[in-house]
Symmetry: C2
Subunit: 338 residues, 2 copies
DNA sequence: GTGAAAGCGCTAACAG
DNA sequence: CTGTTAGCGCTTTCAC
């Protein structure tokens, strides 16, 4: 079964392909094509279930109606949830999403951007990894809409939607201090993206503001993509060497989940005297016994702001004058006490 | 900055575009193009960072090197994990993934298939919703590779990767019975896809084989996409009306997670006398106090089998003779006792 | 060994 | 009001 083309429709309707094309693109009125012809052609299109070949259209018009989405890992609930919301909104506007996971690997990220480029995606939504600033600059130089999120690239003039990471850990740390905690550990990843660094800084600043000293022994950095065993061992070591720890702040949900696993293994109870807080919420924390307080990122709002910016830029990419300036959105995280 | 085309390269290298094209496609040797020319052209390609326009290539060749992935909801960890694995393997073979969430809505699923079609995706990976059998048939009739997974469409001659759902609930139920449970409730969704029905049947059969009667009062069906409040209320009601319940088998992880939330609200302890089992694992269950036993689906293997079939069909789609017959893969779930 | 040219399906000047 | 036609960038047949 061969796919239909605009030609087949034209032949069947006994009009030219131009006429069909105009009707297909809603330019019939403006081209003052007669009602009779429009109706006839539309009837045939419907009857034959003709769908224009989007690839040909893309080649001709230069836009593909797809948005490239680059995240760290689509199987991380944080990214998956955002992906889902973005997909929904994009779908309603006729856009499709092509996604890829960068694994925090700049080489892979660069390669993915290349692939997206050669596929002519209309816009990019990127959770950036360090080292791809130049690639993003290139995109911008070509006038392609880009929004970065989750992490900021401070010295890049690019739209971004971020959460105030500094404040997130600040309020969490402050909460712990107010609860009388004296030895608050901080567990994070070794990926020094702006966002992670800020989470660390928020923690440090809160300690300082409340007259506590930052103790490097209570700071653990886990390599990204560490095999589980190593991570477990590293965390165990920290707990063993520092029995005075009375609270732990994890800079990201999957580390906190690993942490809970380790605490279970070493049979350390979470209670009034030993508190855990995670950055990013997760069902695990809500249902845990006892429940775990978290710094929650407004996922819904993040996704909304991202796609709004993208769609707006896309809608106005023809007349650059109409494009609003850079959007640098900073949303506030919420502390959920449990 | 205008994008380069093959023409620019040809001009710069002072050869014809044909030559460039051959070199680009690795047909240089077979066309017996001289080494000197090849090297010169390749140097220029590298120097100018030329990337062929994939859209034009697609229009010409008819294949887009992208695979359409239709899942119920990309933010469900089960689908997200599978999506991730599929993405990885596809990426290594030069394929990209375009995903969409069907929300169990046949109209949306149909529409998405149309969109993918007009975008000429090379192959489809679909977690089917009932009512799209005809659309899948159409795809097959056109010779496009399709693999369905998670749910089977029994009367369709299409590649599928499924898990033995019947056996999954059977062994879980048997486990509970062997633990001495007499009133095992079953909570499932109202979506009557083959896979969910089989989970129910496995539960029923196990009861029967062990001389227990199926009690409809202990069977609760939650509407898909139910607002949280309703679901909670429905579950509460079941627990209230049937205090004799000594175990609950949830047919899917998100229902079990909801269930845990409800049990927390009504302060019902999970212990030797009251056991919970979920279909599909999740971090929540592993870390829960007490931990929750689950029927685990071999996600990794599912993803692997899917992408293997797809890539194999794709590789041999030119010579249909070489295509192996239908692959109907059935994998076994594992019961994880915790 | 290399090049000219047709054409994939569609859009949009430009003609009439 | 509708049709003719020139490409979009690439692959591939055929010719030299």
């Amino acid at each position: 079964m061969k796919a239909l083309s605009i030609k087949d429709i034209a032949k069947k309707a006994e009009v030219s392909i131009t006429t069909v094309s105009f009707i297909l693109n809603g330019k019939a009125a403006q081209m003052r094509i007669s009602k009779a012809v429009i109706e006839k052609v539309e009837a045939i299109i419907k009857e034959m279930e003709f769908k224009p070949n989007q690839v040909a259209r893309s080649l001709r018009t230069g836009n593909t109606k797809t948005i490239g989405l680059l995240v760290e890992d689509i199987s991380n609930p944080f990214f998956a949830s955002i992906a889902r919301k973005i997909e929904d909104k994009a779908y309603k506007k006729g856009y499709k999403i092509s996604y890829s996971s960068t694994e925090n690997n700049p080489a892979k990220a660069k390669d993915l951007i290349e692939m997206f480029k050669s596929r002519q995606v209309d816009a990019y939504i990127i959770a950036p990894v360090p080292g791809i600033e130049d690639d993003i600059k290139l995109l911008l130089a070509e006038g392609i809409p880009v929004v970065i999120f989750d992490r900021n690239l401070p010295d890049l003039d690019v739209n971004s939607v971020a959460v105030d990471n500094f404040n997130g850990t600040y309020i969490a740390t402050e909460y712990l201090i107010n609860k009388g905690k004296k030895n608050i550990a901080f567990v994070t990843v070794d990926v020094h993206v702006d966002q992670m660094d800020n989470r660390f800084l928020g923690y440090q600043k809160a300690l300082k503001d409340h007259g506590q000293l930052f103790n490097t022994a209570l700071y653990t950095e886990i390599p990204f993509n560490n095999p589980d065993d190593n991570t477990d061992a590293q965390l165990k070591l920290m707990f063993e060497l520092n029995p005075e720890i009375d609270a732990v702040l994890f800079s990201t949900n999957y580390l906190a989940i690993k942490g809970l696993g380790v605490l279970k293994q070493i049979n350390k109870q979470i209670n009034e005297d030993f508190t855990i807080i995670s950055y990013d919420d997760h069902d695990v924390f809500r249902l845990h016994t006892p429940p775990i307080s978290v710094v929650d990122q407004p996922i819904e709002e993040i996704a909304e702001r991202i796609i709004d910016i993208v769609l707006h830029e896309l809608a106005n990419s023809n007349n650059p004058l109409n494009r609003r300036g850079l959007s640098k959105v900073v949303l506030q995280p919420h502390f959920i006490e449990r």
